[in-house]
Symmetry: C2
Subunit: 468 residues, 2 copies
């Protein structure tokens, strides 16, 4: 008898074959995304196998991301993440490029300040002062909440003492903040609302928690509140992930009115706002005022996340979290389970740097430098891409999000590939959507890692690629 | 009508009441741990509510850890983790104590080297050399795999070039290593084998991934291989988490024979070995030879995790992972999703420290110092606790694991509380077991944060507490 037919007799192989078969049907769209799979008993009867064989096949499908189990309802087919290949290609390309250092590329993918304006000598002095002051304790002493001095500085300088240092948790940047919060508060099948488009690193974390992700399109000044409320009426939402200023990638900022409306909804519909305060230090448009969700929150509805890495120094890997009281202990424990504590010397150095006023000076300087770059890139876009793209000026931050006009045939993935070949790196919009095809007419260009000369040259190259 | 009965009409409240009722029954042991809950339709019919109300009640139970869903089978009651309260009390006590710095306590809870022998001036010079050499790049440049120089040093110094630097992933300590690996390879309901007892931080991560955790008792030189194989025959195991040398807490080390047998089983039963190489640098007994699972592995079955924090400097938060090829990309991406990258200046400093031979000198010195402490603590245990506890000398590492003799009435949780009152901190064994009551006759004492004088005094106090 045929080997494969022989194998069928062994239960172990049988379930894998069934799983393989269903997987193929899903891949080939014979079974649609979201379609209910047959009940276990029914399929077992049809295929003349034990129930357990089907259970195992479905489990395998689930573990490979081809099916989801909904309690009291059944198992549903799930189209594999088509983003995966693109994500992979994009990150591989960047990894390869960065591992040879950036070389001759014009790099529009930067999402952080570049550090070219950073006075390393000042920081070196600060580091030495810490080591002289604290000795080896600076490298040994671990506080799960983070270095107390730094928590006090943050409370004092950034929150004018309105937040208790005990309620601040130091983390290794915003990405870790999102991860730690997700592990603490999200269970499998919990629903999370995100902005559409949104930061791909957050999407990855929520997917990894196996949360249901619901996207709401961003408009000029935040998500549409009516749409948000409709979703809240129909779904049991655990949290809403938002970047309140210069959202990555769309560049939009929330106005106060919208923030207050959303905070009200959070109270009514009992959900929490994960506020990723991305680049609010860099406001160039004087009409934009800084009021975080957190600062407007009277009901302890905000999980505030702030990264120091993006604005300050990417390699320093420090940020902080302010959790609502309800989740405080869970989130603290989640941080401990993630990596015990964040590197202590760097926390001490950052603390002293803030206390000495160097932080403020540095941010002021970045505002002057980057505003200049921002204006310049805006002008270049208008000058060279005016008939190719639509965009809104963010008024702050480090990037522009551009929509390729409908009349232009190229999509952003092809543009990414072509541009790479010509020595220009852009970020295709597809990375920022649950369904990547929705982002195919968008791309992001940042100015923090590029000289003015190269901003112009890079945009000219993009122009030529979109003209062809 | 009674307010609560009125509330029942509103669906939203109804499911919470049902959930509350079932929770109480589980807490009071009226519904046993593992008992199957009624089918959704059946319970809905009995209670005369909609199916969706029961679905929501069961979901709520699940999310609070009071129930688990097994596909194709139903929902099962789950006794809340009774470890939780103890864990919480223990970690709160330690947090409180540590936040006032350790003060007058005799601290036997240390799991890392203390840093008192660390020459901070040498390290300060290294840091300054890095900053002079690399400038602000040392704080800006982020490599997702970790600083290339450090990966090369690790390959060169610790693996004599048998591991490719590209296959090494820098992480922020072993705890992050376990977390990153779990997120990359463990799906809900995957089964993990752990040693009994085992490191509580690993238990927490596996629980948080909602994995099924199967414990195998450790014996003199590792887990019982027959028992392991029996479990492998009956279960589909994804991985086995092990600490190969001076296991935390039992102190045992695997012999080569056992390591080879387990590697063979990994190949036959298709599972992976997560090797947490804890404190293998500190071998005092010359009969113990260092051969990691990783070094004996010919089939790419080992996920090797090494922390530099424990032996070197806790606050430095650096470690590394060597994943098998199969999981390499997933694990790398999981690290990126966790926190992008590990603090770069510290990596550069550690690299230079290793290259200059300072690492080797430091470890040699620690071996001399800690061997002396180890011998001293061993003698004190024999002298003062001989009729109170049984133990095996680990032959290395930083702690002893003691079993309170059956004739002694006190359990380790009471001993922990009493000792704390007398100024002595120990770690109760209960933290290291899935079912904490199994650890109630064990406790751990470490010698790395205590002077000889205090080792003696602390053990004398423990003796007096066990005598009463």
């Amino acid at each position: 008898m045929n080997k494969y037919l022989m194998d069928l007799r062994k239960g172990k192989v049988k379930y894998l074959m069934i799983e393989e078969h269903i997987k193929n049907l899903i891949d080939k769209n014979k079974i649609k995304d979201g379609e209910k799979l047959p009940a276990i008993r029914e399929l077992a009867r049809i295929l003349k196998v034990n129930n357990i064989t089907i259970v195992n096949a479905y489990k395998e499908l689930q573990s490979k991301g081809y099916a989801v189990l909904k309690m009291g309802s059944g198992t549903y087919a799930k189209k594999r993440d088509i983003n995966r290949n693109l994500n992979r290609e994009y990150s591989r390309a960047l990894k390869r490029i960065f591992s040879n250092e950036i070389g001759d590329y014009i790099d529009f993918t930067g999402e952080t300040s570049s550090g070219e304006f950073f006075q390393i000598d000042l920081f070196k002095n600060v580091l030495n002062e810490v080591l002289d002051r604290d000795g080896s304790r600076a490298l040994i002493y671990q506080e799960p909440l983070g270095y107390e001095g730094l928590r006090k500085s943050i409370s004092d300088v950034f929150w004018k003492d309105s937040v208790n240092p005990e309620d601040i948790l130091i983390v290794s940047g915003a990405q870790q903040g999102i991860d730690v919060v997700s592990k603490a508060i999200l269970n499998t099948d919990d629903s999370v609302i995100v902005e559409k488009p949104t930061y791909s690193g957050a999407l990855s974390v929520f997917k990894s928690r196996r949360s249901e992700i619901i996207e709401i399109p961003v408009e000029k000044n935040g998500v549409n509140v009516d749409k948000l409320e409709k979703i809240l009426q129909k779904n049991n939402i655990k949290c809403f992930y938002t970047m309140s200023y210069f959202q990555n990638p769309s560049g939009i900022s929330y106005d106060d009115d919208k923030k207050k409306q959303i905070l009200r909804l959070a109270e009514i519909y009992n959900f929490y706002i994960i506020e990723d305060d991305y680049l609010s230090e860099l406001i160039y448009d004087s009409n934009i005022k800084y009021n975080s969700f957190k600062s407007l929150d009277h009901n302890d509805r905000v999980i505030y996340i702030k990264s120091f890495s993006k604005i300050f120094l990417p390699g320093i890997r420090i940020g902080y979290l302010i959790p609502p009281e309800k989740f405080r202990e869970n989130i603290q424990n989640s941080k401990i389970n993630t990596d015990i504590a964040t590197s202590s010397l760097m926390q001490r150095a950052l603390d002293l740097y803030i206390r000495k006023g160097m932080w403020k000076d540095y941010i002021n300087m970045l505002n002057i430098k980057y505003k200049d770059m921002y204006i310049y890139m805006g002008k270049c876009i208008v000058k060279y891409l005016n008939d190719k793209v639509d965009f809104t000026k963010p008024g702050g931050g480090l990037h522009f999000y551009l929509k390729i006009k409908d009349s232009i045939e190229i999509d952003s993935i092809s543009l990414f590939k072509e541009a790479k070949r010509r020595g220009v790196l852009i970020t295709p919009g597809s990375l920022y959507y649950k369904n990547p095809s929705e982002g195919k007419k968008y791309f992001k260009i940042g100015f923090s890692h590029v000289s003015k000369e190269n901003i112009k040259r890079g945009i000219q190259i993009l122009n030529s690629l979109m003209t062809i």
